[in-house]
């Protein structure tokens, strides 16, 4: 995009401080400890002090779950159109382009076939780095094709969700992706194949109210925000403070809505074990 940007002083300032490598230390938003970025990253993006799970992009997630070199990405050629000519403060195609440049992904999802500890599977990961992982036509189509691939090949399906919900810029068509993905999962279900849904911080709105909550087994990462309505909307409706830990993974387990809350270190093992238990 060619757009003249007037840079403010605050925007320029960090670039001037070149003596310290950018962001080699960071403050954990949970325990407020200063942690060494490299430590955090080698710890699968988990705070070594308090076990806070940092949000990660889809490619990092894939890297953490699959056997090295086994991931074959698929459906990467799908890209958003602008069926409504949607424009808020920015035109939708401009927004998509900016998000593509920022995230290096065509849209908010990365899917493919892989091996997880030697077990073949179809893996589909949403990407928060692209428009908050929102589901428009592309995400809905990739999720659906992933389900269909699992069905075709008789493989277990793992979807790792993190999303703000349905993508407003595609309006009704985004809404229809909820029905589309869920209908595809009905076929997978009837075929007796395994679907493991992994919920990570945050999973809300139309993604939660469709495929994310339809797992045969539902796993959540610790303290992830998971819900239908966002906490702010609920607060506005009820005009009262929400209880501590409301809509967090542990709370959902207590409510009987998720099977397991699993530390990121154990996620790969757990998925492999569940595949074994279900005969995958």
């Amino acid at each position: 995009m060619t757009k003249a940007v007037v840079q403010s002083w605050t925007a320029l300032r960090p670039a001037r401080r070149t003596s310290v490598p950018e962001g080699s230390w960071l403050r954990c938003p949970s325990c407020a400890q200063m942690i060494y970025r490299r430590h955090m990253e080698t710890n699968l993006h988990v705070c070594p002090e308090c076990q806070h799970h940092f949000r990660i992009v889809a490619s990092e997630r894939v890297g953490q779950l699959v056997d090295p070199g086994s991931f074959q990405s698929e459906f990467d050629g799908l890209q958003s159109l602008d069926p409504l000519g949607f424009r808020d403060l920015k035109a939708y195609p401009d927004r998509v382009l900016a998000e593509q440049l920022k995230s290096g992904r065509p849209d908010a999802v990365l899917a493919g076939e892989c091996f997880i500890k030697g077990r073949p599977a179809v893996l589909c990961c949403l990407d928060l780095g692209f428009m908050m992982g929102s589901m428009g036509s592309v995400v809905g189509e990739v999720v659906t094709r992933s389900v269909e691939r699992a069905l075709e090949r008789g493989l277990p399906l793992v979807i790792v969700s993190c999303s703000g919900g349905a993508r407003m810029q595609e309006s009704g068509l985004s809404l229809m992706q909820m029905a589309k993905t869920s209908a595809a999962l009905a076929k997978l279900d009837r075929a007796g194949l395994l679907f493991i849904s992994v919920l990570t911080d945050p999973t809300t709105g139309g993604v939660t109210a469709s495929f994310a909550m339809l797992g045969d087994v539902i796993i959540a990462e610790p303290k992830a925000l998971i819900g239908f309505a966002g906490p702010r909307v609920i607060q506005q409706t009820l005009r009262q403070d929400l209880p501590e830990g409301f809509q967090r993974s542990e709370f959902l387990r207590e409510c009987g809505l998720v099977d397991r809350v699993v530390h990121r270190h154990e996620l790969r093992n757990e998925i492999a074990r569940l595949i074994d238990y279900t005969g995958g």
Binding site: R87, L89, A166, I234
Partner: protein, 334 residues
């Protein structure tokens, strides 16, 4: 989202009509010459027709929310016979925001499932203004399975600002309840026809609208989010101007949804909206229900389910370009 349950008893854009109504009333009271009165009435019906053709999307939303607009129970009284209400989800409770029960419509025995917003203040509160809780969606599904068991076609009336966003709703699995409905409705082996009669607010609407045929009344809206919700998020502020801009951008009118292939048909409303002539609206709905059920009732169940799947499978607009040569390289695990 129930954030703005505006009660526009008198819609802003209808002011000229109100003006004329006053003139007509005056003329009637003063017993004026018949000619003047009938010319005023003529003027009124002409104006009403004008106002309601090319209604702006934001004004459409207002008409869809009109407090006098007929709701599921109203239509049931007008077009259904022997309505036998069925309550409860057999798990938690009964949600009055979704009405379910057997009824006869035309020559058919059907199961009716519909949102109810409520008319009196008490009913509105009980129904949470048409925002259903998980038990509402679970009740809907339980009754739909009952209908499936006995081969009874299903008719759903959609009229909700959205599923209820609240603490209890979250605790009881609002998202799960809707998700399961989406999955299970896609494989129910009897015909399902859905009509958006007022508001089609997001997942809360879709939760009872995975159907073989979906239609909307001309002044209903159906979208992924309410204009206010959209304006608050994308325009950072929900005010009159932004709400109107969001309503435009969301393409939420019946005509827009038809163009996008989300619905099959737009049912006309009487001049001045459904609330001005509920009986005529009910007659239109009855015809549509009867025609739709008739067209679907002899389709073999497997074909029906497969077609329903394909109906939703093809929805979405995207382009498919050559995938990049080098697949995204995932970093080695630590």
């Amino acid at each position: 989202m129930p954030a703005t349950m505006s009660t526009f008893y008198q819609l802003e854009f209808e002011k000229p009509i109100v003006e004329l109504d006053r003139k007509i009333a005056d003329a009637e009271a003063s017993g004026s010459v018949n000619g003047e009165l009938s010319s005023l009435r003529e003027q009124r019906s002409k104006l009403l027709k004008e106002l309601y053709t090319d209604l702006s999307p934001w004004n459409t939303v207002r008409v869809a929310r009109h407090p006098n607009r007929p709701q599921t129970r109203d239509y049931l009284k007008m077009l259904g016979r022997d309505f036998t209400e069925l309550s409860g989800d057999r798990r938690y409770g009964d949600d009055p925001a979704i009405v379910t029960g057997f009824a006869r419509i035309g020559e058919f025995k059907v199961l009716v499932v519909g949102h109810q917003k409520g008319k009196s203040t008490q009913e509105k509160l009980d129904c949470h203004f048409g925002c259903a809780h998980p038990e509402g969606y679970r009740k809907a599904l339980a009754k739909m399975k009952l209908a499936e068991k006995f081969g009874v076609p299903i008719v759903t009336f959609v009229d909700t600002p959205g599923a209820y966003p609240g603490l209890e709703a979250e605790k009881r699995g609002q998202a799960e309840a809707i998700a399961v409905n989406l999955r299970e409705m896609s494989v129910i082996k009897v015909p399902i026809v859905s009509l958006v009669i007022g508001e089609g607010g997001s997942g809360g609407a879709l939760g009872i609208a995975v159907a073989d045929r979906v239609a909307m009344l001309a002044n209903a809206w159906y979208s992924v989010i309410s204009p206010e919700g959209c304006a608050a998020i994308l325009w950072k502020q929900a005010n009159e101007r932004n709400n109107s801009a969001a309503a435009d951008a969301l393409h939420l009118t019946a005509r827009d949804n038809l163009k996008l292939g989300i619905i099959e048909e737009v049912l006309p409303e009487p001049a001045g909206g459904a609330h001005r002539d509920p009986a005529q609206t009910a007659a239109t709905i009855e015809r549509w229900v009867v025609d739709s059920v008739r067209a679907l009732k002899d389709v073999p169940p497997e074909t029906l389910v497969q077609r329903r799947f394909e109906r939703f499978r093809k929805l979405g607009r995207y382009q498919e370009v050559q995938a990049p040569e080098t697949p995204v390289q995932a970093p080695e695990p630590a």
